[in-house]
Symmetry: C2
Subunit: 240 residues, 2 copies
DNA sequence: TGACATTTCAAACACGCGTTTGAAATATCT
DNA sequence: AGATATTTCAAACGCGTGTTTGAAATGTCA
């Protein structure tokens, strides 16, 4: 080593940028875009107030970058189920619910993705359009395909769509209404520590509903409640 | 008549107060508490900037009053189903879903209640504790009772609770995720114009699910999809 | 070493916010 | 009519915000 890394060398520059992104993700998840202050973000990142404007242009550009990165991180860590040929629609459905809940509730990701998304839905910013196009719509299409298979052609497109929203509504509930839930059931937890329980319930509830709407008999247990999570979870490489 | 009502007479004072409450309800529903400005509220109410502080003390007290009033208005206009002895649990369930959707989506109430509640859940203010105690908890208890009857004692308390959250999650979805829905399905509407369709779907979906979890055969149609709304809708008297 | 580029920093700027103020306007009461 | 209380209003205050600025610090390279 030649000398200690000083404040203005490239390594430290990248570190400042990274620290800002991390601090901003926390702050935006905690209080939302409008209520977040640049001063708070910089303080947590150990940087000067002017750092955000220097590295990202303005507060809005920083938010967009945080949104994109957190979404990407969530999908990399908890990807959607890959369409393995042998799986039944019921198994694909359970895997879909589980990975969705993980992305939204994951403690390891500080539930950042879910919290930021919840705020973005109730109080959209300019970034929502891109988010819908790149993340939400593919997700909706994936679910629609699974539900179409589950219904075995016994329901029209409108019913299929409504079923999809019933499923997503159940999942997002634990993310959107967390403050109410903690007050309503002070002892209970509704985070990713309860992931298995929540996955099992939403899957059982929804499959019973969809099978019922399809006019089928309720099959006893062709949807195993235990299933390898979603896919081999690889960490993405550190480089960018 | 003696003379035109002037600015400082008691009638006009009450009118100013009322105009502030109305304008504030709109603004809080549109942009939330923190993003709402006293100046905007006063401008819409046709009042001076100082009017809020004079009539309510401060912005927070105005918000509390708006929250209370909008909640009361929603429940007065769309009350919970009264427990008529002759009704089946399925009928009570449908009535519960319908009145809940009405309160949250009602165009006549400008969807104020639903929008304000959605914001309060994602970004709670000091008023949330009282709201949970006075409005949300009784609502949860009512639903719990109906679901307990539907399950006919064939599920434990935990499952009952999870079923309740599945139902509420489906309902609130149309309120919380409106911005996403309009982008995802540009042609479709998810407001109280679709009340009958949404009520029918959520009821059918949830009853099929609950009956399935209770291990029952799926009864063909003991839950009529048409039902007198909730209760005779009386307007509350104008006096206060 | 000296010229140049990059990054950091303390300080300040411009603006919008909730709130306060003191006077003006009007109604009420004797 | 005169005194008093209530309500409205324009103006201002104090503060926090996102952003800008110009200099200082540090790196690179000839």
């Amino acid at each position: 080593m030649r000398h200690a890394v000083s404040q203005t060398d490239p390594a430290h520059q990248a570190a400042t940028r990274r620290a800002l992104l991390d601090a901003a993700a926390d702050v935006f998840a905690e209080v939302g875009f409008r209520n977040a202050t640049v001063r708070d973000i910089c303080r947590r990142a150990g940087a000067n107030v002017a750092a955000v404007n220097y590295h990202f242009g303005d507060k809005g550009a920083l938010y967009t970058e945080v949104l994109t990165e957190q979404s990407r991180l969530a999908y990399v860590k908890y990807p959607n189920p890959v369409p393995v040929p042998g799986l039944t629609p019921e198994q694909r459905f359970q895997a879909f619910v589980r990975s969705f809940l993980q992305r939204v509730l994951s403690a390891e990701l500080h539930a950042r993705h879910g919290r930021i998304m919840a705020r973005e839905m109730v109080e959209p910013t300019a970034a929502l359009d891109r988010l819908v196009a790149e993340a939400i719509r593919p997700q909706a299409e994936l679910l629609r395909g699974i539900i179409t298979d589950l219904l075995k052609g016994r329901a029209d497109a409108e019913t299929t769509r409504l079923c999809g929203m019933s499923v997503v509504g159940q999942i997002l509930f634990y993310c959107h209404c967390q403050p109410v839930l903690t007050r309503l059931f002070p002892g209970a937890r509704f985070d990713d520590g309860e992931l298995d329980r929540l996955t099992a319930h939403i899957t059982a509830f929804s499959l019973a509903a969809i099978h019922g709407l399809a006019g089928q008999r309720q099959p006893a247990d062709h949807a195993p409640t235990t299933l390898p999570p979603t896919a081999p979870q690889r960490r993405r490489p550190r480089s960018h």
